[in-house]
Symmetry: C2
Subunit: 655 residues, 2 copies
């Protein structure tokens, strides 16, 4: 461990931007078929090389005439002209219109020689068996004729360099007959993932060896493509120097930019560091930003190189902040307008970093609200509120629990609630959820959320849901059990005597009890077995409403026995062995790590375990009253009201 790299001379974020800008990622321009040009960017101006239309063109169905022959004609006193022929679209005229004659003409057909105007068919009558046409209006020269070049004139500027090609530009280029388009090249970005512990999705995972799936390769590849680049994934490299060198050099020969990404381990980072120093040029190592400190910028061979941090949220954040702009620039594409959203901080956030912070943040829309008149954040209608999401940068779920990052200056000590901030979204396609709920993890809720458009539910437990609802951030809290009857965890888990103001959205009940192996080999019958026998138990974490319900039942048991609640819980082997998700205790039982777990009948049915019922508990959804009419909240209310099929399908559920 003695040769561990330290990042002592951290570069300022601005230097990192400049270093990346100094690397040339721009590929050569190329030519693509028009049919494939959408989304590309013109590399050079395109002038019209021909007139559109290329001929004087009738713009109505009717008769081509000499305008002079119609002068004075009207409904009462029509002119009569001899019909000498017809001209159809796509055909060369084989008639000449002399004075006193006319020719039938279709919209889009070539004006025949001699004719200088078109009379629309609605103002004419065929007479004498069709050989003669009565013209019931007078027309001026040029009427209903589109002259050659009137739409686009040869020699004119059609499109300038840098134009992004959307369907309408494809239309203009089609009209000009352009079928090959000179466009900016697509920057090619090689992605080398590192670390002995990484396994690509789809391959077998050996957790006992500490393997995890490689998150960064596909995530960053998708980010590269979203920024207008082409991503090339290289085979996964371990911590071996020669292998890493071979991969980085190969990628540098094939790509405009090479990114390494994946490992959080110091040894893998060390290996990359050495390869870049020996086979390229390290412009800077370490940036004064959190997260992202271990970022590297340099060159390998003729290619630019950026080393991303290993944690997924850090990697995507650094990619989005420092690398994506350079890829866009090289592709000639502006940042989409939707890539940044303005909002107000929902809560206060303090900093003591002394370096730039890229704070993962979630979005929640505050409106439409009932008028509250108090102007508080959360009370105003239709505003975007921004809240920090900080689960530690190692958490993959931050990727979907946050919507983007807020750049916080090093000298910012805190962001006040209500302060305006800009959120750089993880993707221009990210949208704020329509419903933001926090609370109990519940299988029925999970299915009901499938019926709500873009919901977000953080399954952090009932108490955390109530705490956050009190802070005014989420739209709703999902609470299981009976709040205020938790003698073990905390008598008032929200830490406040005022009740949290809420409006009911819906509720149901679920059957809870003890999960045991299939067939109940230990012949568990109830809580007394847990207290009195030597059974290994797995509990839920203290935010879970289900744990409170268990604690309440144990308190009742203690009362019956005339003993203390503490004595009862201390007699249970594993009462403090707490796991986070509703299926987790059952999975521990299934894996043989425990004899009994706290859980739901529905879970026991799903995982085919045994189950000892201890009762039912309510699950209630409470909304922030100011947001009770948000579409997402209304959507959940309707989903619960109409959710009989969901409750019927889950064992032990009733509405």
């Amino acid at each position: 461990m003695s040769d561990r790299r330290e990042f002592r001379d951290l570069a300022e974020p601005e230097e990192a931007h400049e270093a990346i800008e100094s690397l040339d990622l721009s590929p050569e321009p190329e030519t693509v078929p028009l049919r494939e040009a959408r989304g590309r960017v013109l590399a050079e101006r395109i002038d019209a090389e021909l007139d559109v239309p290329g001929f004087d063109r009738g713009s109505m169905d009717g008769y081509a005439v000499r305008a002079r022959d119609t002068f004075g004609a009207d409904e009462a006193d029509p002119a009569t002209l001899e019909l000498v022929g017809a001209v159809h679209a796509g055909a060369e005229p084989d008639v000449t219109v002399e004075s006193g004659t006319c020719a039938e003409i279709s919209t889009g057909a070539v004006m025949p020689d001699g004719a200088d105007a078109v009379v629309m068919v609605e103002r004419t009558t065929e007479i004498e068996g069709g050989d003669t046409i009565e013209i019931r209006t007078s027309v001026a020269p040029g009427d209903h004729v589109m002259f050659a070049g009137a739409d686009i004139a040869a020699g004119g500027r059609a499109l300038g360099p840098g134009t992004e090609i959307t369907p309408r530009e494809i239309g203009l280029l089609s009209a000009l007959g352009v079928d090959e388009v000179p466009v900016r090249g697509t920057p090619t970005v090689g992605i080398v993932s590192t670390g002995d512990e990484l396994v690509r999705p789809g391959d077998d995972l050996h957790s006992e060896r500490g393997q995890i799936y490689d998150v960064n390769s596909y995530t960053i590849a998708a980010g590269v493509e979203e920024a207008g680049g082409e991503a090339v994934l290289y085979p996964h490299a371990g911590d071996d120097y020669d292998e890493m060198e071979r991969l980085l050099v190969e990628a540098s020969e094939e790509c405009d930019l090479v990114l390494s990404s994946g490992s959080t381990s110091a040894s893998a980072v060390d290996v990359i560091y050495r390869v870049i120093e020996e086979r390229g040029d390290l412009l800077l190592h370490g940036v004064s930003v959190k997260p992202g400190k271990p970022m590297l910028v340099g060159r390998v061979g003729d290619s630019a190189y950026v080393g991303l941090p290993g944690y997924p949220v850090s990697a995507l954040t650094i990619f989005r902040t420092f690398v994506a702009p350079a890829v866009r620039e090289a592709a000639g594409k502006p940042e989409p307008r939707t890539a940044t959203v303005s909002g107000r901080m929902a809560v206060e956030e303090r900093y003591s970093e002394g370096r730039m912070r890229l704070m993962p943040a979630g979005l929640v829309e505050s409106g439409p609200a009932r008028p509250t008149g108090d102007g508080e954040p959360g009370g105003a209608g239709g505003e975007t509120l921004v809240y920090p999401v900080d689960k530690g940068s190692g958490a993959t779920t931050s990727l979907v629990e946050a919507d983007g990052v807020v750049v916080v200056d090093p000298d910012t000590e805190y962001l006040a609630a209500g302060e305006s901030v800009e959120v750089q979204l993880f993707s221009p396609d990210v949208r704020a959820p329509t419903l933001f709920a926090v609370g109990e993890d519940d299988p029925a809720l999970s299915r009901l959320l499938d019926r709500v458009d873009r919901p977000r539910h953080l399954a952090l437990g009932s108490w955390e849901g109530l705490r956050r609802l009190r802070d005014g951030v989420p739209d709703a809290a999902v609470v299981a059990g009976e709040p205020g009857r938790d003698p073990v965890a905390s008598p008032d888990p929200t830490g406040d005597d005022d009740p949290v103001p809420t409006e009911p959205v819906g509720e149901w009940t679920r059957e809870w009890g003890l999960i045991v192996p299939a067939g109940n080999p230990d012949e568990v019958t109830g809580l007394t077995d847990l207290v009195d026998r030597d059974l290994r138990f797995v509990n839920r974490d203290s935010n879970a409403g289900l744990r409170t319900t268990l604690s309440n039942a144990l308190a009742d048991l203690a009362d019956e026995r005339g003993t203390t609640r503490r004595e009862v819980t201390e007699a249970i082997d594993g009462f403090d062995r707490a796991v986070r998700a509703h299926e987790s205790p059952a999975r521990r039982v299934l894996a043989g790590d425990a004899d009994v777990g706290l859980g739901l009948r529905a879970t026991a049915e799903r995982l085919n375990t045994g189950f000892v019922s201890l009762g039912t508990e309510p699950v209630r959804v409470h909304a922030n009253p100011a947001r009770a009419d948000k579409p997402g909240v209304r959507g959940l209310r309707e989903a619960i009201a109409d959710g009989d099929d969901v409750f019927d399908a889950l064992a032990g559920y009733e509405r």
Copy 2:
């Protein structure tokens, strides 16, 4: 022409929406590799099937310990533990940490049996040659350990149905090891282009036969792809019934939706109409909307069918308004937030249609402005102004001169200047130009615009530029020649005695004269030849500043001769033969259609014609003073100031 179809019973636009909604475009869901899932939409919910991480994981480089062994340790009184081994990321631990011992551990490695916490390396010292480790801090159980399932717990809801897959969702799915993703199918849209006159871009065009390039096929295909569909182009069909029937039936068998598009001719429309009636089901024909009246909605075989109007702007407008929403719906994609922009009408616009109008509209940003305090449109800072673009729906250039359409209700008689409107952009990627100029067509300007980001210049002539600048719509007018000295066209072409308020942006001069065939076979020496000899002349249109300059010179000639200006111009064969673009007269001369044309020395050099110089004229760019500091105006000012290379490269130009 007797069997011409009339659209007498027009459907209301709402009926057209409902008819299209009643057709089922939704394809079957499919499974795609995770690597290709970006931009797709989840067809079903995805639950976590495994814990992430799958093992208790060290989250720091350091030493795995029993926390109890460190209790009380600090800098002054470190604990010492025997080093019994090491665990690296991606490897199975082969040590057990007993009391009094520790194991080296890398970030991400599996916690060895017996250990319950990690001490970070910075708080340790190797002593006794590395066999013993001094621990200079105390840790609690769980410190620097990420427990199995702490990030994502098996059984939890990962992503819901309908989720659009962006890089972050790819990250979460990667972490779960999901490498194949169930997604909504991509609706397949067949495009059949019709009309005998259409030629696909890249093929030879025979203008004498009235051929034009097919604009709609590629434009609509690009629109389909932008809306999340897959476009299939079928070979071009003429007006032949059997051919059309074969193509439509083939397309209906292969696609979820068939669009016909292309021809404006009544006979082609008739053929389609008959095929749909005989081989399918026509739900409605004709919609009360302008443009778009001849729209058809129905079924062919098992496929939905929509017939789009023939003119490109009409086709794209109807596609965008009625068809794209159905394609998005089938693909499961919401309309992008950027697809609609709010703005205020820059001018008044009146209607007398009695049916819904889809008004092509351009966007111009009014700011940043100098403070004017008058609150007039154009005076306020940073507002989006909307102006109607109506060149007739047959003009392809409307596609790029308009940015989208404003839906105007049938009962709206006018939109007032300043009224708020919504513009449905032709594409979510369309952005308002940074510079909107109207005026003279000039080759130097055209090159200078290449150096401005997203400029729009409508080459409608100097006088039109001044008129529109007076109306407050464009940012700048480009004016050639000397305004106010046009005795032929109009003494005050803006029709107002007040001078148009302007702020100079830049100016240059250009040499003008007579374009003659190479070698000047008629030995033209100047204007007298034009007046006195029998030469066929081609002039520019009356909005062109260059024409005013010619008229002024002819007025001087008339004065010299003591005759009237009218007598002089009437003596020129073709003085009123006016063409629109700056190269058009030269191209007529080249084509042998004229002996002499009005033009620039630069054009003569470019097209290798002869040239008789008649002098120089100024070209001046005037800005709306309220917008002189807009980035686009500043950009053009800088481009002119730095444009010596442009002026040097063009014959007869000087700044």
